[in-house]
Amino acid sequence: MDERLRANLGGRHFRFVEAEPADTHLTVTLSEGTLGYLIVAQIRHGTEQQVAIFPVGRPEASRKPVAGVRLEDQLIWEQPGKVLDFALPQPEAGAPLKLIVLEVGRIVFYVRDQQQWQLDGSVTIPPLRPWLRAPRGYLDLSRGLADTTAALSGVECKGDFGHPETIQCSFVSQERAPWTLEQDWKSKNLASAGDAALISLSCEGRSIALATGSGDWTETDFVQGYEIGTLKGQQAMASGEPLELKGPVTALWPAEVGGRARAVVENLQTGNYEAHLVTATCSQ
């Protein structure tokens, strides 16, 4: 590191000289605590020492381009409470962008205003049965906002999600829950993965799926792109670099827009639940 720093500073026309005897010594240390990175300056003058501490932000790691399915991540929303699923319905012309967040006991609606999501209303989902510790949820907007379904473990809420007052919830069987269908598809195509979503994208004629890792929910996770073989019985092949995430992916669903998936991540550093939009593209 010392050599690299010297080379870097030399390239910027700095000159190095031998240290001369000095009365005051300054030691600078880059450190890290739970509050973030710190620059710590120790100023020693004889037996006296002063310490000055400056908090600094954490830089984002840079990403390099890779071949195969390329994944881009966009953090849409985060909150301390559990998020089961979320959706970004296609806005009507001139209308503000909307965000729907499915939580354990409610459906929350937000609108984009001045670069921020503002609460627009919520619908309480009645506890038709005791809430499960790891409930699942899915927002199905495939038939449009006016005929949307929010499916939870044993509960289904339907209505015009553009007019939340029309939403009605009822008790349903779990046998045909969306995650049961997803599980059937995954066990045939991506058995070793955690959760998987077949997205509407194909690269060189091969369908693309995204899948999570298979670790516990105590570990950081990733989303990996897969190319699904066209021949029967052909295994899915991992393609491109995985998208590393700061916690387990607790839900992964194909988004309504092509080449995208919705991922809910429990950030192990902050404890927040994060709604990510993962965009896959074919890259050579």
Binding site: T29, Y37, I53, L132, R133
Partner: protein
């Protein structure tokens, strides 16, 4: 078929601990530090929430579990609270056996007769060598010497400083703790404050000898430790040896629970951090210690790193509290325990979120 990573419900989690808890009432004080630590782990399982001051809120049983059977000091059986606000725990019940010797706990988890067993930090290496799956938390429990105010032997600051400089903290970590934990020079660990490296942990026998040679008054220090804690006993004896090598004199004294006032100049204490946030943790520590002579530092829980460091430095410079080592919490885990997260600093056992898989 459901994915293997998705939790499943059911089963009884079998837990073994060394401490003996005699009362589940939060208002009833613990008689030993071990009992206090165990209550800190049990209370979050029974109560719904905690106030900013740290008091548990809600009725007993409003948390993720309810008490099903209670044999004070021996056995506690909890059952899942079906109406817990944040969702029912995955396990149906938890059986906690208390007062189990460290060797028995280790053996039981090795033989899959227990799912979770507390392991003393100094036994972690031994457990791992025996194939036990071990979980170790961040080091968040401080072992320190706390001097008793008003004692003639230690009212002279030089006497306290000499003792602090004579202690070989690295040797305590390497030999007594078998390389678990880390030496402590400050009141917060490096992972939390980011500034622990500014506090020296080096032994300075020569300087300690010089200081002690200047002291003309009483020099013998009586150091008390919890009689039920073998780790404290080992550390106290090591301190006595280090002090002797530097020309000091330390006599160790075992303190039995409920013994009342003891003729000790200083005590070994174990103090768990109440929070991972350095400002909050230090503020709670200061509240627990009470006023420290010559120190006005009282950082707010939201203090900035500079303020936290200044407060820490002011306290440590009095040598009334001499940090020794940071200890992690360690657990042996049975083969069927899934989704175990090492307990977060300030939080109790993670029994609400773990689940039991099939024995492979």
């Amino acid at each position: 078929m459901e994915s293997a990573r998705r939790p499943r419900y059911g089963g009884t989690l079998r837990v073994e601990i060394g401490a003996v808890v005699k009362s589940l009432d939060p208002a009833t004080g613990a008689t030993t530090p071990g009992e206090a630590a165990a209550k800190d782990d049990i209370d979050p399982l029974l109560y719904e929430g905690r106030s900013l001051e740290g008091a548990y809120t809600g009725a007993i049983g409003s948390g993720p579990f309810r008490v099903a059977e209670w044999e004070p000091g021996q056995r506690l059986v909890l059952v899942a609270n079906e109406s817990f606000r944040e969702g029912r725990p995955f396990v149906d019940s938890v059986e906690i056996r208390m007062g189990r010797a460290a060797r028995d706990r280790l053996l039981d988890v090795e033989l899959d007769r227990a799912d979770v067993a507390e392991i003393p930090p100094e036994e972690v290496r031994h457990a791992a060598e025996h194939g036990v799956r071990v979980s170790v938390s961040l080091p968040d429990e401080l072992v320190a010497v706390v001097f008793v105010a008003g004692r003639p032997a230690t009212e002279d600051r030089r006497s306290r400083e000499a003792l602090s400089r004579s202690i070989d903290r690295a040797a305590i970590v390497n030999f007594i703790l078998q390389k678990q934990g880390e030496p402590a020079g400050g009141l917060l660990p490096q992972w939390s404050s980011g500034t622990a490296f500014l506090f020296s942990t080096a032994v300075d026998t020569a300087q300690a000898r010089n200081i002690w040679s200047e002291i003309t008054g009483p020099r013998r220090i009586v150091l008390g430790y919890d009689a039920s804690d073998s780790l404290e006993e080992s550390i106290a004896e090591r301190i006595a040896v280090d002090a002797r090598e530097a020309g000091g004199s330390v006599t160790v004294a075992a303190i039995k629970p409920g013994a009342g006032s003891v003729n000790a100049d200083a005590r070994l204490v174990r103090l768990r951090m109440a929070s991972a946030n350095p400002g909050e943790a230090l503020a709670r520590d200061i509240a627990a210690w009470g006023p420290i002579a010559g120190v006005s530092a009282d950082p707010a829980p939201t203090a900035m790193p500079q303020q936290i460091y200044d407060a820490e430095r002011a306290i440590v410079s009095t040598y009334r509290i001499v940090p020794l080592v940071w200890l992690p919490r360690a657990y042996g885990l049975g083969t069927r325990v899934r989704d175990w997260k090492a307990p977060a600093t300030g939080a109790g056992w993670p029994f609400t979120d773990l689940w039991l898989g099939e024995v492979p």
